[in-house]
Symmetry: C2
Subunit: 294 residues, 2 copies
């Protein structure tokens, strides 16, 4: 990872984290609901999804201001999914990024509603964005539903739950992660490209790029659950093994999983060569996905 | 209630109930998720919110086809809210309209996700509606977020929960019901008017109309919880009294609540006189709200 990427990640994370609370604060809503929504939005994380939106605008040399609202919308969606995933009836997690999970602080009922609120509000950020023309807003909302809804993240979460109780094939595992993880990462990339006015051919290529990057992201997740450092990760390692969950290493061995990860990263980089612009930052993002330690 | 209204309610309920499953069936999503989403969508109910969308198009003599997708979207939002409200961490209800609640049939995790899926998908119905121009889609999505999100239904649900443990004033009670119930009923009316191309002055008036109609709806709900017939209602009566919940009758006495209900209905009807169209059907809807037995 070069200094340049580090600087980009650091500065854009700041921009996103400065912008996020404003969307909640201005709401005419119960104090407790806003507190619960803000708590999880402000609990940190890499902010990878919103940063990807800005990275695409940067790649196409467009003002990143165009992407702030959409970037915050995707972070709201990601955050709502974590709140609901952590609920006792789902993964029943007490800690997230080293802090008590939303329902541990605010109770289960408010956690459900904070998630519902973040999900609903995310659409408002896009449709009320004064910087965007109507056709782009509609296209982005449609992409967001596809990525986050029953055909994307929500569906992937259901398949993931159902997959926990059986041995999965590689293609079943891949399909789960495509829906659960890759599609929302893909939304960040596609929406950034749409906002930047990228050529349609580039958008098609970026959709394939996003798929490989998303699967690589998930393989790295599986690897980190075995080889990661608990302190750096901010969550316990080894839970997949304890839960006998099907993962890339469990199907392919650790060596095989690492090769698969590199394959997807290579595919992703190859696709970047076909874009109409130079995409140094996106290349570096690929390496980040392959080597990240948290 | 005249025959005419009954016929309208009956025939439009049929249209909505025929259309709803198609939006779920075409989804590329896990079978179990689609089954859980359909179960609650198809569990019956008055379909009042979608019918109101069509009633506005009817009032303005526009094709009701223009409203089918938006009508189904608001029914999906209403249905998701019922699924989440029924969860053990919320109202913990085992029965809804005489049938086991979603989590009783599909488990809590799938019920949470079915709700999330319905909420997300509802936006897709509007933005992908081929019959609507872009500006109307965006306006309707924005109205839907305001009605259903933190500033509307989700916020109202939080206030309602928090209000259960204390005595409320009439204005606190009114504010809760405005957010929890009236705004989504209002969305049906406003979106129907937007779809119909109603004059802006009418839309302003219909927003006030919707407020009075929504509060009247809720007062009638409180009255039915005391005077209603359990068989006709499809749910137990007396639960507000048992839970010592603040209701219109508990603040105003039964007689006072009935007067208040009539006041709101009178206000609503008065507003209808100022519309640019004759609105016989909406008058009849007012009487329905005042006298409904379920």
């Amino acid at each position: 990872m070069t200094i340049q990427l580090n600087q980009f990640l650091h500065s854009r994370k700041q921009i996103i984290e400065n912008a996020l609370p404003s969307y909640i604060e201005k709401l005419q809503a119960p104090h407790s609901l806003k507190a619960a929504m803000r708590y999880s939005l402000e609990a940190g994380g890499k902010r990878l999804r919103p940063i990807l939106v800005l990275a695409l605008l940067h790649t196409y040399k467009q003002s990143e201001d165009l992407g702030i609202a959409t970037a915050c919308a995707v972070e709201m969606i990601h955050t709502y999914s974590l709140i609901h995933d952590d609920l006792p009836c789902m993964d029943d997690d007490d800690l997230r990024r080293g802090k008590p999970t939303n329902h541990k602080v605010f109770g289960e009922a408010l956690a459900v509603l904070a998630g519902d609120g973040l999900l609903t509000q995310s659409f408002s950020l896009i449709v009320n964005d004064q910087l965007l023309p109507a056709d782009k807003k509609l296209r982005i909302v449609s992409e967001l539903v596809n990525a986050a809804g029953a055909e994307g993240m929500v569906g992937g979460q259901v398949s993931d739950m159902e997959g926990e109780v059986k041995k999965l094939t590689l293609s079943e595992l891949q399909s789960i992660h495509e829906n659960k993880t890759a599609k929302l990462l893909g939304f960040s990339i596609i929406s950034g490209a749409i906002l930047a006015g990228a050529p349609e051919e580039d958008i098609d290529n970026l959709r394939k790029f996003a798929y490989h990057l998303g699967i690589a992201f998930q393989i790295r997740d599986d690897i980190l659950d075995i080889e990661g450092n608990q302190m750096i990760l901010g969550k316990p390692v080894g839970s997949d093994t304890i839960n006998e969950k099907t993962t890339y290493p469990s199907i392919l061995t650790m060596q095989g999983a690492k090769e698969k990860l590199n394959d997807h990263i290579d595919f992703a980089k190859e696709i970047l060569n076909n874009l109409s612009v130079r995409s140094e930052l996106l290349y570096q993002m690929c390496d980040l996905m392959a080597n990240r330690d948290h």
